[in-house]
């Protein structure tokens, strides 16, 4: 069996009386793209938030490469090599595209805190080049000196992806990377994610769009009402009656 990068074992989380996650077990293997799907309110985002330290699980543990992430601060988790793309793009709106990516690259190079007030940004040639390559990679190079406020939603998402990728994370978490995108933008994003996959980056994708999921995922876990009801390769999931019930049942009622 391949090396397990992220190991979620027996995680429970309740909000008030509501069981948001119950006995979640999830093993993400190195180099694989693992999709988590499920109807609205199934607990997908909660699971992702537990993985990046935004929420602490009530019981259970999240291990990343042998390190227990429970109770760690989000920036320390990032420094371990976990990057996250948000559902609504989170970027630096007052800065230019290239600066957005440079900041991400600086975090990778300098760590969580680094105080050298007399360094000069314009002497960071290597860093800038790296950021430019990254923007080229996601197809935003021509906009590199624009302010990000003017970008389309799809471009913002690609920029956010570039900010994550420039850090060469060992694990990339994507929260509905194509939500709110046009079909054209969605396809471009799928292509981009496929290319990343070829480089062997481990990914967890949370997604509604089955087209995206089946184009990318090596393995799919289906979440319903806070529990994993099915797990397997895309073909197995497609034919699974339980999954159909969870989805279609939910849709028809």
């Amino acid at each position: 069996m391949a090396n397990v990068v992220l190991d979620v074992s027996d995680v429970n989380k309740t909000f008030g009386g509501l069981q948001a996650l119950s006995h979640i077990n999830l093993q993400i293997e190195e180099g694989k793209t693992h999709a988590v799907i499920g109807p609205n309110g199934a607990g997908k985002s909660t699971l992702l938030n537990v993985c990046v330290g935004r929420l602490a699980p009530d019981t259970g543990a999240v291990m990343f490469d042998g390190v227990n992430l429970t109770g760690m601060d989000p920036y320390d988790i990032n420094q371990l090599g976990v990057a996250r793309v948000f559902q609504t793009p989170e970027i630096f709106l007052d800065l230019t595209l290239i600066q957005n990516v440079e900041i991400a690259a600086l975090a990778k190079r300098d760590g969580a805190f680094h105080f050298r007030p007399f360094r000069l940004m314009y002497k960071e040639k290597a860093l800038t080049e790296e950021a430019e390559h990254m923007l080229e990679d996601v197809g935003l190079y021509r906009l590199k000196d624009e302010h990000t406020g003017n970008l389309s939603r799809g471009d913002k998402r690609r920029l956010e992806l570039a900010m994550c990728l420039v850090q060469h994370p060992r694990l990339l978490l994507l929260d509905e990377p194509t939500a709110g995108m046009s079909r054209h933008d969605t396809n471009r994003t799928i292509d981009l994610l496929k290319r990343i996959k070829e480089r062997g980056m481990t990914k967890v994708i949370i997604e509604h769009d089955m087209h995206v999921v089946f184009s990318l995922a090596d393995k799919i876990s289906v979440l319903a009402q806070g529990a994993i009801i099915a797990e397997g390769a895309p073909d197995e999931i497609r034919g699974n009656p339980k999954v159909q019930e969870a989805y279609l049942g939910g849709a028809h009622v």
Binding site: D73, N78, Q79, E90, F92, L93, A112, F113, F118
Partner: protein
Amino acid sequence: MASLTAFQPSTPKRDAIIMAVFAAVVLTAPIWLTPIGASYPDLLQRFAIFGIFAIGFNILFGLTGYLSFGHAAFLGVGSYAAVWMFKLLTMNVLVAIAFGVLVTALFSIVIGYVCLRRSGIYFSILTLAFAQMSYNMAYSVLTPITNGETALILETADPRIIDRALLGDAKEALPSPSLFGLELTGYAAFYFCAVVLILAFWVSLRIFRSPFGLKLLAIKSNQNRMIYTGYNTRPYLLVAFVISGMYAGLAGSLMAITDPLAGAERMQWTASGEVVLMTILGGAGTLIGPLLGAGIIKYFENIFSAVGKTQLSELFAFLPDGLNEALVGLMSLFVGEGWHLTLGVLFMLVVIFLPGGLMEGIKRLTDWAKSRRQGGETVGDGAAHQPSE
């Protein structure tokens, strides 16, 4: 506003030019300020000192967006510390400055640590509360250190240990602050402040151009993204807060040098409000803006405070009597003692109509001129508009 406060890419050559022009402008100030009657040393010193104060405030507010309402406390602490050095050790200004800045640094670490546990409004309220607390304490518990309402002043009987050891106990009169024997009064004091201002500006420029400055701007833009990008934002904010506090302490020490006394009124909330106004009037987040704001406010304070009813009646003497009296009556609210009213009105006008400050106004004008010159050809200028929230 976005485009102004954003990180400005630059080149070594461009920065060198900026520094050279800046130094030249500051050092020749006594000459080019003569036509507007602002070239006497006392006012020039104030320009430089409040310029430093505003530059420092801008490092916190302009770069991180954290709005402090308590910066006058640091100014006051810097003054007290400097005067104590004069009294205890020596009249050498370098010692006073070093100690003033050091004490404010320690003080701002403590206050920053507590206040930065919250952001936004909470932060503003907390800094205001701390400044008020310091102000109250200066008048009550701390009177042994601050001398309460009488203000801390130099006395002939002060120990001045180093000076007495080196020079003997000769002098009867009160000594003046000096730089290795050079007495710092009048223009000498201004040039000293000017050199410190140039250095302070240089440091600020370097911070603006550094990865550190870029990160601070990113915190202002989206702190959540910063955290998930791997940054521990709190130490960044604390460092910015402390640097900014040290600038205020430096300004406070310089105040003590140009006029060797320290009173608690320097720590009042109106004084904190004044530096906020200087910064936003000029343009928060811009390099030059805060300096411009400080200069304008101190200049008009100087003029307005000196004007009384008689001058006003003379000024409007050409008008018919009734109108004259009405106008003088109205105007006299804003001058002399009423300078603070002018300040308050200015404050509101700037926030309402020109939140980006004068620098934004200048930019708007030049953009407009540019687009005029290009004759209808519309410039893609989305960046000049405020970003949607």
